[in-house]
C-alpha cells in the first residue's frame, strides 16, 4: 500500500455495478455519481462510512482490506482483535476461546483492542475533569465520523477528543512491549488489526490526528472468521488468562459503551450515519449545550454494525453485553497521566470539500447560477442523471462535472423543441410546394 497518497477503503467491481442509483442516494456526503453507467466515487468527499457497501444490491461495492497472507513478511505477528469480534460467536461465556483460537491460527501474540479502550476511557475521564475541552466533547474513535466532521462540521473540530482510537494505542503498546520483552526490532513486528470496519483501513493508511499509524495490516473479521472458527475448536482448552479487558473495554464494541465508560451522566450516544448527522447539526445550532460527552458511531449499533462483520449487529451487541457481565468493570488503568502515544500529535484541519469556490464572491455567482439551473429541473430527484438530487446536478453543472442535458426531462424538452421545429419546417415546405 502506498503511503501518503489518499487511499479509500471502498472499491467498485465494475462488472457487477449496473449503474442503479441505490448507493448514490444513500451516500451521506453525496460522494457518488453514476458516470458512463457505473458508480464513481468523488474521492475527496468520501468518508469511508461503508454505507454504499451495505446497501449495494449487486455487491459491486467492496471494502479494500489487507489479507492474512500478507503477514508472512513479519517475524512476529500480533493480533489486535476488535471488541466486535467477540460478538460474532454463539454460546460464548467469555472471550478466552476467541483469543486462544487466534494463537492457534498462528498469531504469536494477542493484544486486545478492548484493553487499550479502557486506557482511552481513563484518558477521556482525565481530559473531561480538566475541563479544557469545548463541551460537549465528541468521541474521536469512529474514523468515519471524524472524517465527516472534517468535511462538513468544521465548527465542531474543537469539540473532538484529541486522543487516538483504541486500536492505534493497542498497536503502539503491543509493539513496544514485544520489542522490549523479546528483543525483536520494532520493524519486524506486525500489528494486525482484525477489523469490523473498512474506514479503519483508511485510518491506518492515512491517519488523522497522528503522523503515522502503528497498524501494519487491517484484516476483516469476515476473512478470518472461517479459519478462526475451526482454530477455536482445536484450541478448546485455553490454559492461560488471555483476556485482559473488563466490561468497559468489551462494551466499546457497541453503541453507548464508550459514553457509559466516561462515568458522566450527561452523555448521548448516537449510531447510524443519518442519526449522527442529525446530532451534529443540532450541536452546530448549540442545542446540546447541556451535555458533557457525545459518542457517535457511523454504523447502526456501533462497531458491531460494521460491514466487515459476519453476525447481525443486534445479536452481536447482545452477546457483548453478556460477555461483559462476567468481567470486572475495568482491568486497565492510567495513573492520572495520559501517555504521549495516546494523544494526537497533530491537529485535524477543516477540508472544505463542499464549498463551490475559494473566493466567496465567485461562489455566490455559482450559487446564483445553480438556482437558475434548478428552476429548469423538475425537482423529482429521480437520479436518472447519476446525481443524488436535482440540487446536486445543478451543483455538478456549475462545477463543470456535468451538463444540464444529463437531466432526461431537460433533454426531452429539447428534443420536443427540435421535433416541433422540424415539423414546422416540413409544413412550410409543403405549403411552398403547393403554392408552386
Amino acid at each position: 500500500m502506498i503511503m501518503g497518497e489518499y487511499v479509500h477503503s471502498v472499491t467498485l467491481d465494475r462488472d457487477a455495478c449496473r449503474g442503479c442509483i441505490t448507493c448514490v442516494k444513500r451516500c451521506p456526503t453525496e460522494a457518488i455519481r453514476v458516470r458512463g453507467g457505473k458508480a464513481t466515487i468523488l474521492k475527496d468527499r468520501c468518508i469511508d462510512c461503508g454505507e454504499c457497501i451495505r446497501v449495494c444490491p449487486h455487491h459491486a461495492k467492496r471494502a479494500v482490506t489487507d489479507h492474512l497472507a500478507d503477514w508472512e513478511r513479519f517475524r512476529y505477528k500480533i493480533a489486535l482483535p476488535a471488541p466486535a469480534l467477540y460478538g460474532q460467536f454463539n454460546n460464548l461465556d467469555d472471550a478466552e476461546v476467541v483469543l486462544a483460537g487466534l494463537l492457534e491460527m498462528g498469531f504469536d501474540e494477542v493484544y486486545e483492542v478492548a484493553a487499550a479502550a479502557e486506557l482511552v476511557s481513563d484518558a477521556t475521564r482525565i481530559l473531561l475533569s480538566r475541563g479544557l475541552l469545548e463541551r460537549p466533547v465528541i468521541s474521536s474513535a469512529c474514523p468515519a465520523v471524524l472524517r465527516l466532521i472534517r468535511v462538513r462540521f468544521p465548527q465542531l473540530l474543537d469539540n473532538v477528543l484529541p486522543l487516538v482510537a483504541p486500536v492505534e494505542l493497542a498497536a503502539r503498546m503491543a509493539r513496544r512491549q514485544v520489542s522490549r520483552q523479546m528483543g525483536i526490532p520494532p520493524g519486524e513486528i506486525g500489528c494486525i488489526f482484525i477489523s469490523p470496519c473498512p474506514a479503519k483501513m483508511t485510518a491506518a493508511k492515512n491517519p488523522l490526528g497522528t503522523a503515522k499509524s502503528d497498524i501494519d495490516l487491517v484484516v476483516s473479521v469476515s476473512e478470518i472468521y472461517p479459519a478462526l472458527c475451526s482454530a477455536m475448536k482445536r484450541a478448546r482448552e485455553p490454559g492461560e488468562d488471555l483476556v485482559t479487558a473488563g466490561r468497559t473495554g468489551i462494551g466499546w464494541g457497541r453503541s453507548g459503551g464508550e459514553a457509559a465508560a466516561t462515568l458522566h451522566e450527561r452523555y448521548l450516544a448516537a449510531d447510524g450515519i443519518e442519526n449522527v448527522i442529525r446530532v451534529l447539526e443540532d450541536m452546530e445550532d448549540e442545542k446540546l449545550h447541556d451535555l458533557d460527552f457525545v459518542e457517535l458511531n457511523a454504523c447502526s449499533s456501533g462497531c458491531v454494525g460494521g460491514v466487515l462483520n459476519v453476525e447481525n449487529p443486534y445479536v452481536a451487541a447482545t452477546r457483548l453485553k453478556r460477555l461483559g457481565r462476567y468481567r470486572p468493570v475495568a482491568c486497565n488503568h492510567l495513573e492520572d497521566v495520559i501517555p504521549p502515544e495516546a494523544k494526537w500529535d497533530r491537529e485535524v484541519d477543516y477540508t472544505p470539500v463542499l464549498r463551490l469556490d475559494k473566493n466567496p464572491l465567485h461562489a455566490m455567482e455559482l450559487l446564483e447560477e445553480m438556482g437558475r439551473i434548478e428552476e429548469k429541473l423538475r425537482g423529482l430527484d429521480c437520479g436518472s442523471c447519476g446525481a443524488p438530487s436535482c440540487h446536486a446536478l445543478a451543483e455538478d453543472v456549475v462545477r463543470g462535472y456535468a451538463s444540464e442535458d444529463s437531466c432526461i426531462y431537460v433533454l426531452q424538452e429539447k428534443l420536443e423543441a427540435v421535433m416541433n421545429a422540424m415539423m414546422i419546417q416540413d409544413l412550410e415546405r409543403e405549403r411552398e410546394e403547393t403554392e408552386l
Binding site: 448549540e286 446564483e368 451543483e395
Partner: protein, 140 residues
C-alpha cells in the same frame, strides 16, 4: 453583484419543522465557503429566531440576504408583539407556555443568544401587530 436572496415561510402550527430554514441557510453558507465562525453565528442566531417565530409569533416569514460583506436576516411575524423589548433581551426572561417549556424551549435565552451571535440586531415590536427582528452578521 446584487447578492443572494432567500425567502422562507415558517408555519406557526408545526414546531417540528422549526429549524428547516436556518438549516438550509447553514448548508448554503458552507457551499459558499464562508468562515466556519460566521456560519456558526448565523446558524445559531437564525435558529433561535426561527424558534421564536413558531413559539411566540404564530409563524411568519424570514428573508435572508447574503452579499460580499454580510449576512442579513429579517424575521417577521404578526404575533402578539413584545410589550417590553429591553426586558425580553435579559437572559432568563421568558413568556413561553408550559407546553413549549415541556419541549425544552422557553429558557429565556432566545433574544440574548441572538444578540450575542450577531454584529447588529434591531427589534421592532408593536403589541397586537407583530414583531420584526433584523440581524446582521459581518463576514470579516
Amino acid at each position: 453583484m446584487s447578492g443572494l436572496h432567500y425567502h422562507y415561510e415558517v408555519p406557526g402550527d408545526d414546531v417540528t419543522r422549526a429549524g428547516e430554514a436556518s438549516g438550509a441557510i447553514k448548508s448554503t453558507l458552507k457551499k459558499l465557503g464562508f468562515d466556519p465562525g460566521v456560519v456558526r453565528k448565523v446558524a445559531i442566531a437564525m435558529y433561535e429566531g426561527e424558534i421564536n417565530l413558531v413559539i411566540h409569533g404564530g409563524g411568519g416569514v424570514i428573508d435572508v440576504e447574503i452579499d460580499g460583506e454580510k449576512v442579513t436576516m429579517v424575521l417577521e411575524d404578526h404575533g402578539p408583539g413584545i410589550p417590553d423589548v429591553s426586558k425580553a433581551m435579559e437572559e432568563g426572561w421568558s413568556t413561553a407556555s408550559d407546553s413549549a417549556r415541556s419541549l425544552g424551549f422557553g429558557a429565556g435565552m432566545g433574544l440574548p443568544n441572538m444578540k450575542k451571535n450577531t454584529d447588529e440586531m434591531t427589534v421592532d415590536s408593536t403589541v397586537g401587530v407583530g414583531t420584526k427582528v433584523t440581524m446582521v452578521v459581518k463576514l470579516a
